[in-house]
């Protein structure tokens, strides 16, 4: 599915992450690594929102050559999401659902599933980190992506949402979707049967 060729990412001349030639297969994938190891950087690179050296290919299509084709097939939920303070969660969800051509029924199903309808008419400026995280997770599941990137999805959310999130991940996996998850949390990850686990050691992305 994903192929990283001569991939490297530097910040101010300091190498953060590299992978000379690495294949990431389809399925449910866990990227492990300590804080600051470059997990989020990898996901942002795959999502096409930060520049990097080398190339990333999704099903043979180069992210550098055809970013539009790739980015339409990937959704991404950030570890610590932020949204404009003056907008409501509902406005953001409706905007994303509308541009991705998502049906109202599925959008509302996700809204109810994560319990966002309780607060989503309020402006985002008043949201807690957990509330923002729920909005970000809904956005990641909207549309029909081939690959879903979830950065620390179990951070900041309550136990009930953790269980719901695990369920939705399992359902999507059974539907044949690929999910790439980063986390240093062990407990919730044990509920999910990962197809592949990757790790970051000495700034190098490797298969464990």
């Amino acid at each position: 599915m994903l192929f990283l060729k001569n991939y490297s990412k530097e910040y101010n001349g300091k190498l953060v992450l590299k992978a000379e030639s690495l294949q990431i297969p389809e399925g449910l994938i866990w990227i492990r690594g300590v804080n600051g190891s470059g997990k989020s950087t990898l996901l942002k690179s795959i999502a096409g929102i930060i520049p990097f050296q080398g190339d990333i290919r999704l099903n043979g299509i180069s992210l550098k050559k055809d970013p539009l084709a790739i980015r339409r097939k990937i959704t991404y939920a950030e570890a610590e999401p932020f949204y404009p303070e003056m907008l409501t969660g509902r406005e953001i969800i409706e905007f994303v659902a509308s541009v991705r051509g998502e049906s109202d029924a599925k959008t509302w199903e996700l809204i109810h599933f994560f319990g966002v309808d309780v607060f989503f008419r309020q402006a985002c400026g008043g949201y807690s980190t957990g509330m923002l995280k729920k909005v970000a997770l809904i956005l990641a599941f909207l549309g029909d992506p081939d690959l879903i990137l979830l950065d620390e999805p179990f951070a900041f959310i309550d136990q009930e949402t953790e269980e719901k999130l695990s369920d939705i991940i399992k359902t999507l996996k059974n539907k044949g979707k690929s999910l790439l998850i980063t986390s240093h949390h062990e407990i919730p990850m044990e509920n999910l049967s990962f197809d592949w686990v990757f790790g970051i050691r000495d700034n190098q992305l490797i298969r464990i």
Partner: protein, 368 residues
């Protein structure tokens, strides 16, 4: 969808540059009479060569908008707007064009004014060129914004830090700052200089119509400073914060202050030479020098201001406009420039000296 773009992108731009637009409005509609505005427009459309001035000004507005949009879309808060890529190509471009129409609204209004003046004063070629210019500008901006949405992380500059460390000696900090601003931040510097010279040039065109030359020159100088007001911000945020080792060196605060002063002087040297060459015969050189030192002191004062408050760019720009509006009114009431000069120079030094060790730089995390 349009409402959401309007609430975030469009209003965000006008909020950020409210002070800048207010100053333009004040200068144009407060300082000039209606017939003078018409005379300037007639001068601009009389010869197609003269159209280069409004083209340059609107072009700079467009570049300012491009920088803002690049920054805006790279802000994680607004990244969800990049989901516009899911729309089919034509629909996406149409949507962006609508946003650009509102973002370029003040420039478009002036373009319509110029177009009408050209049409009614018998300059159809100028009218046609104004029309074509705005069409090209809007198409270019639409394609650029489309690229920003597709490739949001694309960076504009490379870093040149290593070069600065090769400099040695007591004046390395000055060398570092100048090299950094010229090499690393070259594009904002070029834009700053273009805007600065455009401001001075516009003022020099207006000189024959002005009775109080001293006051007029004072305002012209402070407008030149306004164009350069982001330089202290650049020095502070992109150089000074990373020079934390300075506090461990046996350099006295006053010496570092002097280096920042010299850096500012060197960076404003092109404008200073231009102003001296063009205004020397018209005005007392002592008054001219006091004006210049006061204007430079204001830039250093803004640097010291950052040491105390360490505010973000939007608040910094608003503060600069606030200070400059006070200064323009001070000069309009013919109050002595010497007092302004003493206050600015002494306060810039006092704040720098007092807050140099109080300031603690923040370190941003780069990777998770």
């Amino acid at each position: 969808m349009s409402r959401l773009i309007f609430k975030t992108w469009v209003w965000g731009f006008y909020r950020t540059y409210a002070g800048f637009l207010f100053i333009l409005f004040l200068l144009f509609f407060g300082f000039l009479k209606g017939e003078e505005q018409l005379a300037i427009a007639q001068f601009l459309v009389a010869d197609i060569k003269n159209l280069i001035y409004p083209a340059l000004a609107v072009g700079l507005y467009g570049i300012l908008l491009s920088f803002y949009s690049h920054h805006f879309l790279n802000n994680p808060k607004n990244r969800f707007l990049c989901d516009l890529i899911y729309l089919p190509g034509f629909q996406r471009l149409k949507f962006l064009l609508k946003g650009i129409h509102w973002l370029l609204f003040p420039a478009t209004l002036y373009g319509i004014f110029l177009f009408l003046v050209a049409l009614f004063t018998g300059s159809p070629m100028s009218a046609f060129l104004v029309f074509i210019f705005f069409i090209i500008l809007k198409i270019t901006m639409t394609l650029y914004f489309d690229r920003l949405i597709i490739r949001p992380g694309e960076t504009v500059y490379g870093y040149a830090w290593s070069l600065s460390y090769s400099l040695g000696g007591k004046w390395s900090f000055t060398g570092f700052l100048i090299k950094h601003l010229i090499l690393d931040r070259s594009l904002p510097l070029i834009l700053t200089k273009l805007l600065s010279f455009l401001n001075i040039y516009v003022f020099s065109i207006l000189i024959p119509t002005v009775d109080y030359l001293d006051r007029f020159l004072g305002i012209a100088l402070f407008v030149a400073v306004l164009s350069n007001s982001l330089l202290p911000y650049e020095i502070f945020h992109f150089s000074f914060r990373r020079m934390t080792f300075l506090r461990n060196l046996p350099l006295r605060r006053s010496f570092i202050y002097l280096q920042i002063w010299v850096t500012t002087l060197i960076l404003l040297l092109p404008e200073i030479i231009y102003i001296y060459r063009n205004f020397m015969k018209l005005i007392n050189p002592i008054i001219l020098t006091i004006d210049l030192v006061a204007a430079l002191s204001l830039l250093v004062f803004l640097f010291s201001f950052q040491l105390i408050f360490n505010i973000d760019q939007r608040r910094f720009i608003n503060t600069v406009f606030g200070i400059l509006i006070c200064i323009v009114f001070y000069l309009l009431f013919d109050l002595p420039v010497t007092i302004l000069f003493i206050v600015l120079l002494s306060s810039s030094f006092f704040f720098f000296y007092s807050y140099f060790y109080h300031y603690e730089p923040e370190y941003e995390s780069q990777a998770d």
